[in-house]
Amino acid sequence: MERRTIKVDVLARVEGEGALRLVIEDGKLREAELRIFEPPRFFEAFLRGRSCMEVPDITARICGICPVAYQMSAVHAMEDALGIAITPEIRALRRLLYCGEWIESHVLHMYMLHAPDFLGYDGAVEMAKDHPDVVRDGLALKKTGNEILRLLGGREIHPINVRVGGFYRVPAKRELRDLREALLRGRDASLGTVKLVAGFEFPDVERDYEFVSLGNAGEYPFNEGHVLSNKGLDITPQQYDAHFEEFHVKRSNALHSRHIGHGAYLTGPLARYSLNAALLSPLAQEAAKQGGLGPTCNNPFRSIVIRAVEVVYAFDEALRIIDAYEPPDRPFVDAPMRAGVGYACTEAPRGMLFHRYRLDTEGSVLDAKIVPPTSQNQPSIEADLLDFAPRWLDLPDERLGHLCEQAIRNHDPCISCATHFLKLDVVRE
């Protein structure tokens, strides 16, 4: 039996700690396991007994890259449990906040983490020596996203201004208008990003994913909608538990997730785009066309093009919201406490994020369930590797390892959210 071992100790440019093990026997790929040894973080457990009003700020601490997603799923779930409805103005401001997060998170991933894969560099530092303008553009775009977070969230990381029922403070019209010039520049620059990443060389692979994302809300999804799939699923977030289940696998401290009766599914840019492309703004739709995207996309390596299109959309949407903005009379609606169960799904940059909370009559959390996108995507990431890696087995070890890392980065996994480094271990035997 031929045995060949390739070991990449640290897979950089992902958030969190984990390892990938590939076992190859006699030239055939036998196993592809994403092992997550990030210690469990027990957020669901220590939310018990906390006031529902505290939860958005606690869950924001789950992730430094996508804190808004955790705040948004938490507040919407609490509002569902308490039976309160937010005003259209608050809803628009939450979309604007999400635009900021999509911009900063997508741009970080595209420019600093994923582009080096396509341009043949070990990382952004090496890439910057030959392509300083690319890195400068990325940093400038990211900064604009951060400025939205700072204005609406109170600060750029782990925002503190979101509350159940609305915001603690809403911006004056003038404050939003001050963002306009930077957003216009950012929107122009984001069209350049689409052109840049669309010119990368993509492995010619596709998979028949079950795409799952929010949709049917009459808008490209951020905060609301039904949970849809390209295989016919159409449910409300309240029905999520009946259709999806988490399960433990020994190799991972993050729970995996499956669509009951169907198996692995994929959330994130590919799913969102494939289920909602027609809801992008005309400018973003044109950018998608110019970027070579069709109505759907099943090649995960092209996820970088979709992220770029989503950044165009986020700038466009942010400008639309700012231009239409009229400050609400009150920054929040009252949130009288009552017992209940609340559910919400929102679209984190890297995929759909489900929260469920059960509250007592005082509004204290009795139990919590948080299903991050990376937990949902883990089985699909492994399936990608099982599907793609056999085509690459003849490649030198270093190239094989690199492509596998890139295949993982296609999905911008946030392992620390799901439970933090990835270690890649390829065994050929």
């Binding site: 950089a12 958030e15 430094g64 990382g123 890195v135």
Partner: protein, 189 residues
């Protein structure tokens, strides 16, 4: 937090580097905090996570320095993410970065590295977002727009980095020693 061995650089180097010709003045909004809309002449940045034991030593130094702050010294605390650090390094003339380190040296060991002299700061895997932390920020800033005229990195060796842990007494003592040393250096810088 830095994870590195001997690569943390010899102490007490001094830079003979001339000011980078392409140090941009502030354009648009500056990093958040005091000193907006102006070039940051002298900037101290304490880096780390105060909730992870010795990792908070950089920020502790920044906080203690505030109580003795000489005029026109701008003091910031950061978690170590690359993007804001690059921005600070673009907008400041003289910068002192304070961070925790792990190299196997005794706890509380202080190292001083002149980033304008040392090309190869140890890239490492640490408590930063998506693997982009202080060394990457310094390297990117150097490539993109040149480093500040003075760019000094002080590290304090730590041993305990667990979430919620307290600070090792030797590390806390070193923070006091480093504050005194920095005050001395800042007076003449």
């Amino acid at each position: 937090m830095w994870v590195g061995g001997e690569g943390d650089g010899p102490p007490e180097q001094s830079s003979a580097r001339t000011p980078p010709p392409n140090l941009d003045p502030l354009r648009g909004s500056s990093p958040q905090g005091e000193g907006e809309d102006r070039v940051l002449h002298r900037l101290v940045i304490g880096i780390g996570n105060p909730d992870r034991g010795d990792d908070g030593v950089g920020r502790l130094v920044a906080q203690r320095l505030r109580g003795h702050r000489p005029p026109d010294i701008h003091i910031e605390e950061q978690d170590g993410g690359a993007a804001p650090l690059i921005e600070y390094l673009r907008n400041a003339d003289r910068v002192w970065l304070i961070d925790a380190a792990v190299s196997g040296a005794p706890p509380g060991t202080i190292r001083r590295t002149d980033c304008n002299v040392t090309d190869a700061l140890p890239m490492r895997t640490g408590a930063s977002s998506h693997g982009l932390g202080v060394p990457e920020a310094v390297a990117l800033a150097r490539t993109l727009h040149g480093l500040p005229r003075v760019c000094m990195l002080y590290t304090v060796e730590g041993v305990i980095f667990a979430p919620g842990a307290g600070m090792t007494p030797a590390v806390s003592d070193a923070a006091d020693a480093l504050v005194a040393r920095l005050l001395n250096e800042l007076r003449s810088a």
